[in-house]
């Protein structure tokens, strides 16, 4: 049994154990769930250590027959890109548990259900990045929506039922388009001697360009909704407004990455011709997302939807990096996925603590927090600095790589994207000024600073942001082989410098 399978089974076992615990003992439930998630983190770190970064092939592979009639397999295996995303997931889950220790208590159902849902979600989040069978990927891709639906609808705030429904229907719509494309691929593979859902074999198919375009769109729209790219983004702010901080963290930090991950893993490797055809249009959408998300973030009054719109801007950067398709931009984009996960986690978690203490999500209701809760204020400030890609923090490395790589092939897009960094300064500093600076109003005077549990939860996130900012080499070394493979598959090489050395 591959370590990947055990990694997926562990949270599932955790969910079962939590299921048989008495619901009355909420503390025990939380401790057991946290224990299991930490165990998963540990196993994933062991896996990362034994991962061979020099090898560009899939590692820790395992294939078991699932539905033999259609040649559907339980097939898993990871490359560098999947590894960093899985690591990000397994590190974020216990942090989310710890940070939102009490957010399960105002739900529609009891505490147990909350942790069972989260642990099942963790299994699926690992599985979706590990799957090397398109059908398996599709099933997890769709099934993941359900725990999130219940987490938003059952434990969120405000108009949570409507937000959960919008999220579910919007994502299902994208999923159906992808299902059609998956079936289309299967039929083509059947016609070309050998029905298969295996990613590696599907990428070897020869498909005429018109068909490629349609199938590409099927996958791409599903991923663009997930990622979310302008103009498919409107479900995200609604969901982020209603979800708990922890759910938002996992939703934007991990689940949305499946979209950009899928663009690289499926769109590019299955349909190289269509990718070339569609690239100008997609780059345009990406640039619009960058600027649009930033402008909208400036105009937000609700802190959670502000974070959601900053993410739309950041997903624009990631998509730009992916489709500019140079080794810098692609590596930058993959690294950006990881950094955005941690950076968004820091933003949502600190914002969640602020909201919980102040009892309001409106930025205007805060103010002067730096005087009363300096550690909380600093955490939020650093998270904001990471969102505006301050050098020294990891998001700078990835954002700069995306821009420098894109400039070589799409200078106009890169220049417009670079303008986004001014807007980023505006949306972060406006929020920082309104929430942290100024006189402390009487309503905020009683706000307490972070307690030990919260400090332990935020410390690793900030540590990762700083460490990867100063020393991104370990991450980049793991990601580089994936980039190379993708570029070779796409038949693209880096532009050469105009003045030879």
């Amino acid at each position: 049994m591959s370590i990947l399978t055990s990694l997926q089974l562990l949270p599932l076992i955790g969910a079962l154990v939590v299921g048989i615990l008495p619901a009355s003992n909420a503390k025990l439930v939380k401790q057991v769930a946290l224990g299991f998630s930490l165990l998963v983190t540990l196993v994933s770190i062991v896996m990362a250590i034994s991962f061979d970064s020099g090898n560009s092939a899939l590692q820790f592979t395992e294939v078991r027959t699932w539905i033999s009639a259609f040649n559907i397999n339980y097939a898993v295996g990871i490359d560098g890109m999947a590894l960093v995303l899985i690591l990000m997931t397994t590190i974020l889950v216990p942090i989310v548990f710890l940070a939102g220790w009490n957010e399960s208590e105002n739900g529609r159902w009891n505490v147990k259900v909350f942790y069972i849902l989260l642990l099942i979600l963790e299994t699926m989040m690992i599985g979706v990045f590990a799957a090397t069978d398109v059908f398996l990927f599709y099933v997890i891709f769709e099934a993941m929506l359900l725990p999130v639906y219940f987490l938003i609808g059952g434990y969120g705030s405000g108009d949570r039922a409507a937000a959960a429904m919008k999220f579910l229907l919007y994502s299902l719509f994208g999923g159906l388009l992808m299902l059609a494309a998956v079936i289309g691929l299967y039929i083509i593979s059947t016609n070309q001697g050998g029905a298969t859902f295996d990613i590696a074999r599907l990428s070897e198919l020869t498909i005429d360009s018109a068909t490629q375009n349609w199938l590409f769109l099927g996958f791409f729209i599903a991923f663009a909704i997930k990622a979310p790219l302008w103009p498919f983004h409107t479900w995200l702010p609604t969901a982020a407004k209603s979800a708990t901080a922890g759910t938002s963290t996992l939703l934007l930090g991990v689940l949305d990455k499946v979209g950009t991950y899928g663009m690289i893993r499926f769109c590019m490797s299955f349909f190289p011709d269509a990718t070339k055809t569609m690239t100008p249009a997609i780059i345009t959408l990406a640039v619009i997302s960058i600027l649009y998300g930033a402008f909208l973030a400036i105009g937000q009054k609700d802190i959670n939807s502000l974070i959601a719109f900053t993410s739309i801007s950041h997903f624009g950067f990631i998509t730009l990096g992916i489709f500019a398709l140079t080794s810098q931009s692609l590596t930058g984009a993959i690294f950006y996925m990881v950094n955005h996960g941690f950076s968004t986690a820091a933003l949502f978690l600190t914002a969640g603590w602020m909201i919980k203490r102040r009892g309001s999500t409106q930025i205007a209701d805060f103010g002067g927090l730096q005087r009363v809760a300096p550690v909380l204020a600093w955490s939020f400030f650093l998270a904001g600095m990471s969102a505006l890609a301050l050098p020294g923090l990891s998001s700078f490395v990835s954002e700069f790589l995306v821009l420098v790589g894109s400039y070589a092939k799409y200078p106009v897009a890169a220049i417009l994207g670079t303008l986004g960094i001014i807007l980023a300064a505006l949306y972060v500093l406006l929020a920082v000024q309104r929430a942290l600076h100024g006189e402390t109003p009487a309503t905020s005077a009683g706000i307490s600073d972070l307690n030990l549990r919260e400090k332990i939860a935020i410390a690793p996130v900030i540590a990762v942001l700083v460490l990867l900012g100063f020393y991104p080499k370990p991450a980049l070394e793991v990601i580089n082989p994936t980039t190379k493979t993708v570029m070779i598959n796409a038949g693209v090489s880096d532009p050469v410098a105009k003045v030879a050395k």
Binding site: G299, F400, V404, P411, L436, G438, F470, K473, V499
Partner: protein, 629 residues
Amino acid sequence: MTTSTSLVYLIALPLFSAGLLLLLGRIADKWGHIFATLVSASVFVIGVMEFFAMQGREGEARAATQKVFEWISVGTFQVDASLLLDQLSICFVLLISGVGTLIHIYSIAYMSHDRDRRRFFAYLNLFIAAMLLLVLGDSYLNLYVGWEGVGLASYLLIGFWNQKPAYATAAKKAFVANRVGDVGLSLAIMIAFTQFGTVTFAGVKEGASGASAGALTAIGAMLLLAAAGKSAQFPLQSWLGDAMAGPTPVSALIHAATMVTAGVYLITRSNFIFDASPTAQLMVVIVGAITLLFGALIGTAKDDIKKALAASTMSQIGYMILATGLGPVGYAFAIMHLITHGFFKAGMFLGAGSVMHGMNDEVNMRRYGAIRKVMPITAATFGLGYLAILGVPPFAGFYSKDKIIETAFYAGGVEGILLGGATLFGAGITAFYMTRVMVLTFAGTKRWDENAHPHESPFLMWAPMAVLAVGSVTSGFLLNSGNALVNWLEPVVNESHEHHSEHFLPPLAISAMALFVVAIGVAFAILKYRSVPVVAPENVTGFTKAARKDLYQDSFNEAVFMRPGQKLTAGLVSTDYKVIDGLVRMVGWVIQISASSIRNIQSGYVRSYALIMVLGVLALVAAVWMVTL
């Protein structure tokens, strides 16, 4: 090139100290300021040792490098965290750590009543680390990290008293204006990488000779944009006046002596780009000339002592930028003026801080007057700085500013006359507004607030001022004796030893003209400010009104960028809700509407269901029938 192992401590020590003081929190309140000062002093000591080590080496071996670790390596994009200490960066290392340490010492006393003094010192150390990284990085990307790092430190320090909304806004404004410049630097790096496949100074220098004129001009223009943002040059200068919201030692260190001169460093460092692109050089001199007049004119109308000094800083940096645009001859003079300016302007800012300290933080010069009697040391040190900035021989400014005026005249032709005229005119206005500051503050009669009881500042405050005053007196002479600085910088900026003898104006004549203009400025100011009303007069010329409002740059920015930007944002927010999300909601709405109209068919009457069945069967039969036909 020599390989060094100690350069990294220049940055690591203050960075570590900043992190430590911030993480420890209140525990470090008792000793944080002393610790930070010692760290800064030890950085200065290391700098001095490096300087002497450099003097012991000759030629190529003078410059030292240290590769700290491999930072980013993706494909051909290879950037190491590497440091480069050459003849240019050592000047900055000594200036930053030297003036920095003096200002640390000054701040111990100046900030002694502030509950957050430890945090202030942590920020100061953070600034020192970032600024040293800026001047020591061996590639544009390393420089960029320091570049944004000093921006962050500046933001934190301007907003140090951010409980006052205006101060917090000033901090934000500075950061955003700097970011506009940062876009320029980012783009310059991107173009450089696309052109040369590397972003190290050495690599770009090597490639610059083979690049197209268009590419070089583009890089140059972008670097100039970056320099304008950081060094408060036209059209990005408006943040500097507001930045005076920060504590005065910050204004002295960051917004006078070091950070704002980073643009001069950037252009000097990139001399190989600008030397190869006359268009870019022309842009540089135009920006420099506009700013030096702009700043000087604003300085004539400011009543806030710090804002008057800030306008002066802007103007003096304009001189330096102009000098860097004049080609190989200008760089050394720009750096010389930068160093002498570091001494006299920092000294004057500390003097202003000392006056404010004694006057209950009053900044309005109209409420000063006759302070020389109660603060003799402050008045003396400030006075020496004043003589230096005027360019009175043998004070520091005489050597550095006269050289710039001279070089401007020697640019030749119409350009030379225009630039020379601008610098000369600027010198006159400088004399006017600086005399105005002197007269309003130290001379004349008392116009103090009733509660003001000015007194001389403590030793910890006046000692740094005295040291800086010594620098204001001697640095120009020292740097110029035997062309010391010019020769020292020669390997970096490739100064060719051309002689200016063929020009129509001998240097002596230019100096005489400069002194004459300065004398006029001084005389005019003394005459005009014999009596000073406490409330600023309203019936002033349109020009004064404009200068009081920073020549309407803020109004322009607000009208052209801010308000349309706000409108655009508001428009997009409502479009997003109404149009894009509206479409999504419309899909749901259409389904609801159509569902409820289809629901009417479900009448609940058996016979209507039966009828539909019959009709359905008939339709089916008809369809089958049609097909078989």
